[in-house]
């Protein structure tokens, strides 16, 4: 604990209080107040080794000494307020899920040049991404007509 | 694991090849797919000389025979007379029965017309399309076929220049196929139904022990109006007897061994 406080004071001293506050915000420490997950990740990060950073800025940590096996790799997402698992690019996925011990930076070389598409996170249900509505759904523009009868139309009967 | 499957495949392949090899031979023999069906279409197609609106009646003399035929059957089973009446109508109408004749028969025997159609379509001896004055029926059943009935038919068709069940241009001849007529001992044979003289002069003759050459001669004799000798065409045979006279059963037939005939 003392080392943490020392580190903080050192950083303030180096950067000045304004820059330190800015960094604090950028690193998501402010979000930690409301987001327990992030806070826990931050606490985990203390003493862990940073294995790599992908092109989105997600940081991949590993800690081998006193962590339970199977929980020793994790990611701290680049976006602090809106994050989900689909932000992990495929090259890091294998490392993160213990499929392989090669890090994402090593695996990036395997990425097909000709047809490998850029990784894109999943925006389902948000923004202007395509949302599938079934034929019976009210939001489907071609919603099925469930009327199975033909009503009598009072047009020709003006007698 | 592999060998039974392979054997099956080989067997099936051989089978297919055999079928393929056979088919041209069959069609060359003058018997294409039509051989599988001996009857004509099972439905009626209107034509000027065969439609339900045409009036058709038994002739006056045949009406007497209709009455005579009907008298053979109980009055509540008049429909039993359908087959003889269809035969009579066929003789009167030059060898075939138009649909109006069937309607007339239905009226006479008091049943619905469809019951007469059923009978007429069932029997291949009733022709529902036009035939020649001499309708030549080639037996196509096994004994005759083994003795060369296909060659006979081929010779006939080639000589007359028609297909099966087709009438020659002069309207004299047509060739059809019939199943066994009971002359197997003198195979091959043809039957000639002569419709040229109406129902009074109707004849139905067998010409047996034929050769492709002889059958053409018979046709030519018929064309000239002559009456070829009926029965076996082999001069060395007498009716169903063997060629060159009998070789067995020459003496008195032996009495049955078990009892004494004189003692009775």
């Amino acid at each position: 604990m003392a080392s943490v406080v020392r580190g903080v004071l050192k950083a303030i001293k180096e950067k000045g209080i304004v820059n330190f506050a800015k960094d604090l915000k950028e690193e998501g420490y402010l979000n930690c107040i409301f987001d327990g997950n992030l806070l826990q990740t931050k606490i985990h990060n203390i003493g862990a080794t940073l294995v790599g950073v992908d092109k989105f800025g997600n940081k991949y940590y590993q800690r081998l000494d006193d962590t339970q096996y199977g929980r020793h790799r994790w990611v701290e997402y680049a976006q602090k307020s809106r994050y989900n698992a689909s932000q992990v690019p495929p090259e890091w996925h294998g490392w993160l899920h213990f499929i392989t011990d090669h890090t994402g930076d090593e695996l990036l070389m395997l990425k097909p040049k000709r047809y490998g598409v850029e990784h894109k996170e999943n925006f389902s249900g948000e923004g202007d991404e395509y949302i599938y509505h079934s034929k019976g759904h009210a939001l489907n523009p071609g919603q099925r007509d469930w009327t199975r009868y033909q009503p009598w139309l009072p047009t020709k009967n003006s007698s | 694991m592999f060998s039974p499957a392979a054997r099956l495949v080989t067997k099936r392949f051989l089978g297919i090849r055999q079928i393929l090899r056979q088919s041209p031979a069959v069609s060359a023999g003058g018997a294409g797919t039509s051989r599988s069906y001996s009857t004509a279409l099972n439905y009626h197609i209107d034509s000027p000389d065969n439609n339900p609106n045409a009036l058709w009646e038994f002739s006056a003399s045949n009406m007497e025979r209709v009455k005579e035929i009907l008298s053979h059957y109980p009055s509540n089973y008049k429909q039993s007379a359908v087959i003889p009446l269809l035969d009579l109508a066929q003789q009167q109408h030059g060898g075939w029965i138009p649909v109006s004749a069937m309607n007339e028969i239905a009226r006479v025997v008091e049943v619905a017309p469809i019951r007469v159609y059923e009978v007429a379509t069932f029997y291949s001896m009733f022709n529902r399309t036009k035939v020649g004055k001499y309708h030549l029926l080639v037996c196509g059943t096994t004994p005759c076929m083994i003795r060369g009935s296909r060659d006979i038919e081929e010779a006939l068709l080639k000589h007359l220049g028609v297909k099966r069940n087709e009438v020659t241009k002069d309207g004299l001849f047509s060739v059809g196929e019939m199943e066994c007529m009971g002359c197997c001992v003198n195979a091959p044979m043809i039957a000639v139904a002569d419709y040229s003289n109406g129902s009074e002069g109707f004849t139905y003759n067998y010409y047996e022990d034929l050769t492709p050459k002889r059958v053409v001669e018979i046709v030519e004799m018929l064309r000239r109006g002559e009456a070829p000798p009926v029965g076996t065409q082999n001069p060395n045979r007498i009716r169903g007897g063997p060629e060159g006279g009998n070789t067995t059963l020459l003496g008195e037939p032996k009495p049955p061994p078990c009892r004494d005939l004189d003692a009775c």
């Binding site: 199975r148 033909q150 009503p151 009072p154 | 059923e118």
Partner: protein, 741 residues
């Protein structure tokens, strides 16, 4: 509810069982009757229970009037007693063994040509076709031996040889006898390597679709057409592998029962043309209901998918329709989907209808109803009305102070006091006991095809004679046309006609009077003349009531029972007319300023004169009681939801009564039925026929002159008789293609 219905259905059965078993006939059943200790004691040497008895197939019961005629056979070692003359197949059914079959049909003659019903009989060298083999005493029948199974497998292989493998596109798929039985007896591969046979499809009209290549030559359709439907059009043409079903000459099947060949065809050769490729039978929900297109009340099953009726099939009822229904009943269902009224509507000042809410519509009608004098209010029930709505209409109008309630088709001042004077008294099934029919002014073939089928059955079975008075029409059985009008009736009544000797010599003469005569001015005089014939010919005896009235509409009998008995002449002075589905009533005499309320489910004739439209539910969407022409009440059950804003008829009337300030005292169907029970309790005894209690002797005398005008035709187009059938496309096709010109 379902339990109650079952109980109702079971009651006469149980009763007859008890009463008959004591007197003359003995119920032959292999197990001692548990309900009846006497019978159990009588059958003392009970069969040794070495083989467990099985329940008979389809509830098959047998009755043997003469115990000496009973023989005992053994089916799979299990002894059954059956009457002499039964076939081996029937014996097996009694023993609870279902024999596979294609050509055998219990209501048709035996053909014995499919060979699927082969069984092994001990000491018989070959398997026996059980449908055509009479059971002999002591016969030992084995149905599940390797011989029988192998024989059936052989037959099945031959049947499948030429049968196309198109089950996925076949409409019979899922209810196909060949499919079902090939599961048990079919091989998973065929040995037939030739080409399959193909047959030209026949055109049998707009109702029956033919795919003749699928035909297995069972000849059920041929036998049905010639034996039941009475049209000798179909036949078996050709022979051998070229055999096919057909008409030989180009001909449509012009029968009013032709749709039944779809049901009896065991494969997909004859299927329904309107239903083709519409649905699969396992997607459908079946609802057991009643047909309302004629007064017979045929039992039907409405097959629906979601909110639409997909098809209509007959339901077995020996008392009414056996297992047939008419083409109209079977194919009018598309009318239920067309021309539907789905919103309450009010006619604007410019003469156009505009949809409004129920609240507004009810308020306007209630206001108008209060502005006219009570006796200027007239209520007319249509021909498809159920008893519940008619009682509600009558109660509502009575509370408004009017008693002008009538049902269309009943004529003026109908005789509703004696039930026997408007019912088919000998019952439809009872017509089979008649040996002489006198049909007066009725064309049963178009008015009630099921009754006609029953008469035809009787004529075929017993050579009963039929005499007919009325305009020339076609019958499908032998009949004698003895006159066209009341003059012939008078001749018979006064004993001058040769028919008199026939009726005197007949044992059970039946007179069938058409309901079309109700509309005649001299109907009472005709009734009196018929009454004279009845007395003179001993038609009405304690053991036989042969005076029958054949009604036209589903609502007629119930309307007369409920007392909707005003005459149609009261609309001359009407200012407010409540048309409850009444389309065929003549509104020419209606004053121009009269207010017309049309309550119905179809935009038909009645709508064009209406000022306000109330949409109501059709018979397939509501629970209703209908009384058929023999006085038997039956229920319809909702099969599909109502369309749009429409509601049940009685609920609309109930709501209107509340808005009008004369609240009717019932809020539920149960309460309405309780109210019906106070007026006509027989309408609550569903599926029971109550014999009329008051004898015809009490009938008042009529002094009226018989007009000499010949009888008219009551139904001029069989296919279009009411608002639903007139909306149906299939029915209009039928009437243009099949009606005799």
């Amino acid at each position: 509810m379902g339990f109650l219905r079952a109980l109702h259905r079971a009651r006469p059965l149980i009763r007859s069982n008890f009463s008959t078993s004591r007197v003359a006939c003995r119920w032959i059943s292999s197990t001692p009757d548990r309900h009846n200790p006497e019978a159990a004691a009588a059958a003392a040497p009970a069969p040794t229970p070495e083989v467990r008895p099985r329940t008979p197939v389809g509830g098959a019961r047998i009755e043997c009037p003469n115990p000496e005629d009973a023989i005992e056979v053994f089916v799979d070692g299990y002894p059954v007693k059956i009457p002499k003359g039964m076939t081996v197949l029937q014996a097996c059914e009694v023993a609870g063994v279902d024999i596979p079959r294609f050509c055998y049909h219990s209501r048709l003659s035996i053909a014995g040509n499919c060979r699927m019903c082969l069984v092994e009989v001990e000491k018989s060298p070959k398997p026996v076709a059980s449908c055509a083999m009479p059971a002999l005493p002591g016969m030992k029948i084995k149905t599940n031996t390797p011989v029988a199974k192998k024989a059936r497998e052989g037959v099945m292989e031959f049947l499948l040889m030429n049968h196309p493998l198109d089950c996925p596109i076949c409409d019979q798929g899922g209810e196909c006898d060949l499919q079902d039985q090939s599961m048990a007896f079919g091989s998973d591969r065929g040995r037939f390597t030739e080409m399959k046979r193909s047959v030209v499809d026949k055109n049998l009209g707009p109702l029956v679709k033919t795919v003749m290549t699928r035909c297995i030559q069972c000849t059920r359709c041929v036998r049905f057409a010639s034996e039941v439907a009475g049209v000798q059009d179909l036949g078996m043409l050709g022979r051998g592998s070229g055999e096919e079903i057909g008409t030989y000459v180009e001909k449509l099947m012009t029968s009013e029962l032709s749709g039944n060949v779809i049901d009896i065809c065991p494969v997909g050769a004859l299927t329904s043309k309107p239903f083709a490729f519409k649905a699969r039978n396992w997607e459908l929900k079946g609802t057991e209901s009643i047909d309302v297109t004629d007064a017979v009340g045929s039992n039907i099953r409405i097959d629906s998918r979601g909110p639409e009726v997909m098809r209509i099939l007959p339901r077995l009822n020996e008392e009414i329709n056996e297992e047939w229904i008419s083409d109209k009943t079977r194919f009018f269902y598309d009318g239920l989907k067309r021309q539907r009224l789905n919103d309450p509507m009010i006619r604007d000042h410019d003469g156009r209808f505009k949809p409004v809410t129920w609240r507004d519509a009810l308020a306007i009608v209630a206001e108008v109803a209060h502005q006219v004098k009570p006796d200027e209010i007239v209520g007319i029930a249509g021909q498809l009305s159920d008893a519940e709505s008619m009682i509600a209409l009558k109660d509502f109008l009575n509370r408004m102070g009017s008693n002008n309630v009538l049902c269309e088709g009943n004529g003026s001042s109908p005789q509703a006091d004696l039930r026997s004077s408007f019912l088919l008294n000998s019952n439809i099934a009872g017509l089979e006991n008649a040996d002489l029919f006198l049909i007066v002014g009725s064309q049963p073939r178009v008015e009630a095809p099921m009754v006609n089928a029953r008469i035809r059955k009787t004529v075929r079975a017993t050579q009963a004679k039929v005499a007919y008075i009325g305009p020339p029409t076609d019958f499908n059985y032998d009949h004698e046309h003895i006159g066209t009008g009341p003059k012939t009736l008078l001749d018979i009544a006064e004993g001058r006609h040769p028919f008199c000797s026939l009726i005197l010599s007949a044992k059970n003469p039946a007179i069938i009077v058409g309901a079309g005569l109700f509309e005649r001015k001299d109907k009472d005089a005709i009734a009196a003349a018929i009454e004279t014939i009845v007395k003179f010919g001993r038609v009405n005896r304690p053991d036989w009531n042969g005076l029958n009235v054949l009604l036209l509409n589903a609502a007629q009998a119930a309307a007369l029972d409920l007392g909707l008995v005003s005459g149609p002449e009261c609309i001359r002075s009407a200012k407010f007319v409540y048309l409850m589905g009444a389309d065929d009533v003549n509104l020419d005499d209606l004053p121009k300023d009269a207010f017309v309320l049309y309550q119905g489910h179809h935009g038909d004739k009645g709508v064009y004169r209406a000022n306000v439209i109330f949409p109501s539910a059709a018979f397939s969407e509501k629970e209703g009681t209908y009384e058929n022409t023999e006085g038997c009440a039956q229920w319809t059950v909702p099969a599909v939801p109502t369309v749009g804003e429409s509601r049940d008829d009685w609920k609309i009337i109930r709501a209107l009564s509340e808005v009008a300030g004369v609240r009717l005292p019932y809020d539920s169907l149960k309460a309405v039925r309780a109210r019906i029970g106070t007026v006509a309790p027989n309408l609550l005894n569903v599926e029971e026929r109550e014999a009329p209690t008051i004898s015809g002797e009490l009938k008042p005398e009529f002094q009226q002159n018989l007009s000499m005008a010949p009888f008219g035709v009551a139904v001029d187009n069989f296919y279009m008789t009411d608002s639903i059938t007139r909306a149906s496309k299939i029915m209009s096709q039928c009437s243009s293609q099949l009606s005799k010109k």
